[in-house]
């Protein structure tokens, strides 16, 4: 494990990628604290403003604290921001959209939604996939056979179509969900995405567990009288972790692309909330013969591409560091 860590640190591309992701994570975590214009306040009389260099238009007073429903912590952070910066806000460094909303602010706030989707969905796929694969691999025999056949069956389902069905269902019951269970539609949406990406994870974990359970340390644990769950969770799963980690770095980009895809179809995140997918959709729609608002499509695409690239680089480096002979993981 230590060797792997050193190998990872020696990889310059991986270092850059990790730093980039860390900076992004911090920015999106502390978005309410940053002196950005409101991502939701409309200025309908404005034309979309082209990007201005920071030294040309550094900032202005006149911040309006207008957001969608924020959590308690976030509203405290916004209050803190007002104490620190007053009503000062940054200029339109990345331009504004057709409704006069600052693009930089929307990208930073949108990253929160996109990361939330990515994290929750990956977590769901992690939990389902790892437990399914581990149980199948450890049980072996008929149970294994049945469980993996089920995975095969799911693989041949056109799952996107089922997700669209399911989102239609969730949309129908959104009011009840919020009132009776306190779950908003988006959370269901994230979990749904995750619930459909666990299949490969299950296969990968099962393969690992199959090869691990024949090793001596498992034998030793059994001789010492460890129970089956204990062997599974305390001895096998920690050893599967590296592979799972590598596969996670592939799941996160896939989920983010799905979010963009569903937002495009109008089934994903709904305004006034923003996500990167939604921003890219708005930008793609803004390219018409009448208006050449290139910044609306360039910056969100760049944000998506850079993040996904960083995740891929990190995943590749992680794989190389952990096991140079690990085969290319298929999606």
């Amino acid at each position: 494990m230590n060797d792997a860590w050193n190998a990872l640190r020696a990889n310059r591309a991986a270092r850059v990628a990790a730093l980039f992701l860390l900076a992004l994570a911090l920015a999106s975590l502390f978005a309410p604290l940053l002196p950005l214009p409101s991502p939701a306040a409309l200025a309908l009389r404005d034309r979309p403003l082209a990007p201005a260099w920071p030294w040309e238009h550094f900032g202005a007073h006149g911040f309006t604290p207008e957001y969608w429903k924020l959590s308690w912590i976030d509203s405290q952070l916004v209050a803190l921001r007002e104490r620190i910066f007053g009503d000062w806000q940054t200029g339109p460094w990345l331009g504004t959209d057709a409704k006069g909303r600052d693009l930089l602010a929307r990208i930073v706030w949108g990253s929160r939604t996109s990361f939330e989707v990515a994290l929750l969905a990956s977590l769901t796929s992690l939990v389902i996939g790892v437990s399914w694969g581990a149980v199948a691999g450890y049980a072996g025999g008929r149970v294994d056979n049945a469980m993996m056949r089920f995975v095969d069956l799911c693989f041949s389902l056109p799952f996107v179509f089922l997700v669209i069905f399911l989102i239609g269902v969730v949309n129908e019951y959104r009011a009840e969900l919020e009132r009776d269970f306190g779950i908003d539609r988006e959370t269901v949406f994230y979990v749904l995405l995750g619930a459909f990406t666990w299949l490969t994870m299950a296969r990968v974990v099962r393969g690992q567990v199959l090869s691990l359970k024949k090793r001596e340390f498992v034998e030793a644990a059994r001789v010492l009288g460890a129970s089956r769950p204990r062997i599974l969770f305390a001895h096998l799963l920690p050893n599967v972790l590296p592979v799972v980690l590598v596969y996670l770095t592939l799941t996160v980009p896939a989920v983010m692309l799905y979010e963009a895809f569903l937002s495009f179809l109008g089934l994903g995140i709904e305004p006034p909330k923003v996500s990167w997918g939604l921003l890219a959709v708005e930008g793609a729609e803004a390219l018409t013969p009448l208006s050449f608002d290139w910044w609306l499509v360039l910056w969100p695409s760049l944000a998506i591409a850079a993040t996904l690239l960083a995740l891929n680089v990190l995943g590749d480096a992680l794989r190389d560091a952990l096991d140079p002979r690990l085969p290319e993981l298929r999606r």
């Binding site: 996107v160 089922l162 069905f165 239609g168 980009p253 495009f264 179809l265 930008g283």
Partner: protein, 329 residues
């Protein structure tokens, strides 16, 4: 071989059964029906409509009617001027029933109209992906570390990381607006399909290039390639006979998921380019509760993906003698 095929067909039946049941349950379980509109219909009209489509039957009876060509009692609402025939011929007999939203069209009609378009688009996109991706990946592997490799790897990373509607709108902007060589949208001639196929195939070309690069690098390091070179085979022959088949194996096994991905992507691409394919029907029908159409598309796509996967599995034995199709377990 026969056993393998038989087993796969059995699984195919099981999968289809699961899809039909799941989709049926989801569609009917949700409140809201195909006849909801801005203005509610008078109760009597709605009742008659529902009766004529047998939506007033108990759910199990509707399900049986949908799945199979069964005799389930009285058919049709003669009072409405219907001809008293069955609403659904049953999926098993290849009849997906009438569309609830597009009056006077059966789902079969709609699919027969739109599916060839979607298939043409999808095939073109996959062919484009392979024709660009395989040479690019091979070149990238052969010139590892050179500037072309770096450029190609950057391009593949971008192709994988960008949502396809961004690629589509960029293509549209350049090739339809700034330099108008291709039509902006619509369907009619082959020229209408060029930009959509590019946009749809681009991510898959990038992925194929990456797979080929990895595969080729692995094969190039093998002893048998060195032997082939040492024996004085011309480089082109080494590449075509020895490196390429090995490098193509990962691409082959990826083709199944890729086909499914192309179908998914076509939902978006068909919408952007206003192509009257099956994908655009699906999203609308799922949102409009056009039960029969949505289910028809889902069943059809399941069958397509499954059939494609089967073909891929069968072709393993052909490309790689080590893997016989029967040796799956």
């Amino acid at each position: 071989m026969k056993r393998f095929l038989l087993r796969r067909l059995l699984w195919f039946a099981l999968t289809l059964f699961a899809v039909v049941t799941l989709a049926f349950g989801l569609m009917r379980g949700v409140r809201g029906g195909p006849f909801d509109g801005e203005r509610p219909l008078p109760a009597a009209i709605e009742r008659n409509l529902r009766a004529s489509y047998h939506l007033d039957w108990p759910l199990w009876k509707q399900y049986c009617e949908y799945v199979g060509p069964l005799e389930l009692g009285e058919h049709g609402a003669r009072a409405l001027g219907g001809d008293g025939t069955q609403v659904f011929g049953g999926v098993l007999s290849g009849d997906f029933g009438p569309s609830f939203r597009y009056r006077d069209f059966s789902v079969n009609d709609i699919l027969a109209q739109s599916l060839p378009i979607s298939l043409a688009l999808g095939t073109l996109a996959l062919v484009f992906a392979l024709c660009v991706g395989i040479p690019a990946g091979l070149a990238s592997a052969l010139l590892r570390g050179r500037s072309l490799d770096v450029v190609l790897r950057l391009a593949t990373s971008l192709g994988i990381a960008l949502p396809n509607f961004v690629i589509a709108s960029a293509l549209l902007f350049v090739f339809a607006l700034v330099w108008p060589v291709f039509p902006v949208a619509g369907y009619g001639s082959w020229r209408h399909l060029v930009l959509p196929a590019f946009a749809l195939g681009a991510p898959f070309a990038a992925y194929a290039a990456r797979l080929v690069r990895t595969g080729a690098l692995e094969v190039l390091a093998q002893d048998y390639v060195r032997t082939a070179r040492a024996k004085g085979l011309p480089e082109s022959r080494v590449l075509l006979r020895h490196v390429l088949p090995g490098a193509l194996l990962p691409v082959l096994s990826w083709l199944g998921p890729a086909a499914a991905g192309v179908l998914t992507g076509s939902l978006v691409i068909e919408r952007i380019f206003a192509i009257p394919g099956t994908g655009s029907h699906f999203v609308n029908s799922a949102l409009n509760r056009d039960y029969t159409l949505a289910m028809g598309v889902t069943i059809l796509y399941t069958a397509l993906v499954y059939g494609f996967n089967l073909l891929v599995d069968l072709s393993y034995g052909w490309i790689d003698p080590r893997m016989r199709a029967g040796g799956e377990e």
